[in-house]
């Protein structure tokens, strides 16, 4: 998967709801180019301490293999990870890659998705 230019601007932000937990939010078009621009923020996140990480991808419009690699790296940095807010496209992409367990992808909701 290779991203194209344009579209929604990529962003990343995180907070610390408790001393050993980190909550990361990602949004926009996540591809090789846009992730290069977020290099500094990503480096800071991957240097921070914590036991658990919750990654919220509900605002993500598009993600390519570099973005998937980023999600894995974030999950690798903490002892446990959970991925929330995955839309149909994001969920199915992660499932097809066999990364559901590694990223702590939550089980799909019981009611049918829109």
């Amino acid at each position: 998967m290779v991203g194209a230019a344009g579209g929604t601007a990529a962003w990343i932000s995180w907070s610390r709801p408790s001393p050993d937990a980190v909550r990361v939010e990602l949004g926009g078009d996540l591809d090789l180019a846009s992730l290069r621009r977020l290099e500094n923020e990503i480096a800071l996140l991957l240097a921070s301490a914590g036991e658990r990480v919750e990654i919220d991808v509900s605002a993500v419009v598009f993600l390519d293999s570099s973005a998937i690699a980023l999600l894995v790296r974030i999950a690798n940095h903490f002892a446990t990870a959970s991925l929330v807010g995955a839309s149909g496209i994001v969920r199915r992409t992660i499932d097809a890659l066999g990364l559901g367990e590694h990223l702590g992808l939550a089980a799909p909701p019981t009611e049918p998705a829109p």
């Binding site: 998967m1 290779v2 194209a4 090789l32 598009f62 293999s65 570099s66 998937i68 690699a69 980023l70 894995v72 790296r73 690798n76 149909g88 496209i89 199915r92 992409t93 097809a96 890659l97 066999g98 990364l99 367990e101 590694h102």
Partner: protein, 515 residues
């Protein structure tokens, strides 16, 4: 920049600007001259009027003398007593005389001061023209221009008495300064008569007028006085005087600056165009190199004993960077073969070198006799997502035509398609995590029966993925595209056109087998 002849356009700009400058300079100079000329004429006129204003004064004094003479019945002694105090060699009255006009001519009655120059027939001729009037009568210049005379005969003079005076002309050898202050910055020359005749020069300042002059002629008694004047300073001020030079200077600077700018810009443009052409050439060259490189990396597909093989590699639409997709087919002993399709994330040299490393490691492990799940486990050590920021999806399978079995294992890779008489369906596989990501469970191997007449299609995600689409849509599209009759090559062609997005940016790899 190397020294080369300037371009025609910059030369044209230079010439045009210089021409414009020349025109403006000339216009400015002409305007300046015209305005100073007007100013000068005005000043000289005023000077002339001031000088001409002396006439009534002289007239009045002469008229008084006539009155005295008339009242005393032209007694010479009385006349002399009256006029002598007014006489002075340098003043307006160097000599004064009383005359009576009669039918026989003019007769001198009294005289005081220097001897009169006007005499004889010239005097008779002059007095013949004198009549009672308000005008002061002037003679022409007398005695070679050193003396002139004037006569006053008041209106209503029934005694026919005329007072005639003569004045010395200082001449050019005795220049005088006109002290009246409004004209102290003018250089003037006064001429008797209607023209600035050298012979008729009355008075001049020291030095006389030069350069730009104005000439004014005013009535002077019954004759005329011509005043010629020039200014000692710039009448319009120093700035106005210098303006043409300023315009010329600025214009030349502007001409040189604009011509240089045009030249510079044009050279840069030529340079930019040359770079653009060179860049286009380099780009084409690199595309060619990339295609050659990838072609060299991917193996020729040899037909196997009982298996049809078809393979495709199509680069993504940009194709400037090397990609990380590959396929491989390895014949092992006992009529078995191992098939591999892989996709390293990212682009460029890192992806290509990782791909090469994985491909050859897999070959080596297969050569050593490792089973397919062992191979996948072992190659996990070659790539690490934390260290390399990339991972690889790999599908590996072992086909045993004798046993009619196909064993498959997938590390993050999309399921292959099986097409038979009943239709097409994807193989259900337990997908392990991609290579480079820690595995949570041992890698599973799925065994399916390989009935004859089956077509097996393995591919990379470029075949089925489209932006803003769930992956399942693309998989379904592939499934429908594969259900075509014909040779294996026909099926692969159908799949490439039917499933793959036009202008797909991702590389695509297809490996198909039919047994």
């Amino acid at each position: 920049m190397t020294a080369r002849a300037p371009r025609p356009l910059s030369v044209a700009v230079l010439i045009l600007t210089l021409v414009l400058t020349a025109v403006l300079t000339v216009l400015t100079a002409a305007t300046r001259d015209h305005s100073t000329e007007g100013l000068l004429t005005g000043q000289v006129q005023q000077a002339a009027v001031t000088i001409g204003g002396q006439v009534p004064t002289v007239q009045a004094q002469l008229a008084d003398a006539v009155q005295v003479a008339t009242a005393t019945n032209a007694q010479p002694a009385v006349f002399k007593r009256f006029v002598t105090p007014k006489l002075s060699a340098a003043g307006p009255f160097a000599a004064m005389s009383l005359w009576r006009l009669g039918p026989g001519g003019a007769r001198e009655l009294a005289h005081s001061g220097q001897p009169l120059v006007l005499a004889g027939s010239a005097a008779q001729h002059f007095f013949a023209s004198v009549h009672p009037s308000t005008t002061l009568y002037f003679t022409n210049l007398l005695a070679g221009g050193s003396r002139f005379g004037y006569a006053e005969m008041p209106p209503g003079d029934r005694a026919h008495l005329v007072v005639y005076a003569e004045r010395n002309v200082p001449g050019p050898t005795h220049p005088v300064t006109i002290n009246s202050s409004p004209f102290s910055d003018l250089r003037l020359a006064l001429y008797f008569g209607p023209r600035a005749d050298r012979a008729a020069l009355l008075e001049t300042t020291a030095p006389g007028p030069s350069g730009q002059t104005a000439t004014v002629t005013i009535p002077f008694g019954d004759k005329a006085l011509t005043v010629v004047g020039s200014a000692t300073d710039e009448l319009g001020g120093a700035l106005l005087g210098a303006l043409p030079w300023i315009v010329l200077g600025v214009g030349v600077v502007l001409a040189l600056t604009s011509a240089s700018t045009v030249e510079y810009v044009m050279r840069r443009r030529v340079l930019a165009e040359q770079y653009a052409i060179e860049n286009a050439r380099l780009y084409r060259e690199q595309r060619g190199l990339v295609a050659a490189f990838q072609h060299a990396l991917l193996p020729e597909v040899h037909p196997l004993a009982e298996v049809d093989v078809a393979a495709r590699y199509v680069a993504g639409v940009r194709a400037v960077d090397v990609g990380g997709d590959w396929y491989d087919l390895i014949e092992t002993h006992g009529g078995r073969c191992v098939l591999v399709v892989g996709d390293v994330s990212g682009r460029g040299l890192p992806a290509a070198t990782t791909m090469a490393a994985l491909r050859y490691a897999i070959r080596a492990y297969i050569e050593q006799g490792d089973d397919i799940d062992t191979v996948l486990t072992k190659i996990g050590a070659l790539i690490d997502v934390d260290r390399d920021a990339s991972f690889a999806t790999v599908l590996i399978g072992e086909l045993d035509t004798k046993q009619r079995s196909l064993r498959l294992a997938s590390a993050g890779h999309l399921p292959p398609l099986l097409v038979d008489a009943e239709g097409a369906h994807f193989v259900e596989l337990d997908v392990a995590a991609p290579i480079g990501v820690r595995q949570h469970r041992p890698i599973a191997v799925t065994t399916i029966p390989a009935a004859p007449g089956m077509t097996f299609i393995a591919y990379s995600d470029g075949l089925v993925e489209r932006r803003s689409e769930v992956i399942d849509t693309g998989l379904e599209r592939l499934r429908n595209a594969a259900r075509v009759p014909g040779s294996l090559e026909d099926v692969v062609d159908a799949v490439m056109t039917g499933a793959r997005e036009e202008d797909c940016e991702d590389d695509t790899v297809v490996l198909a087998l039919r047994w």
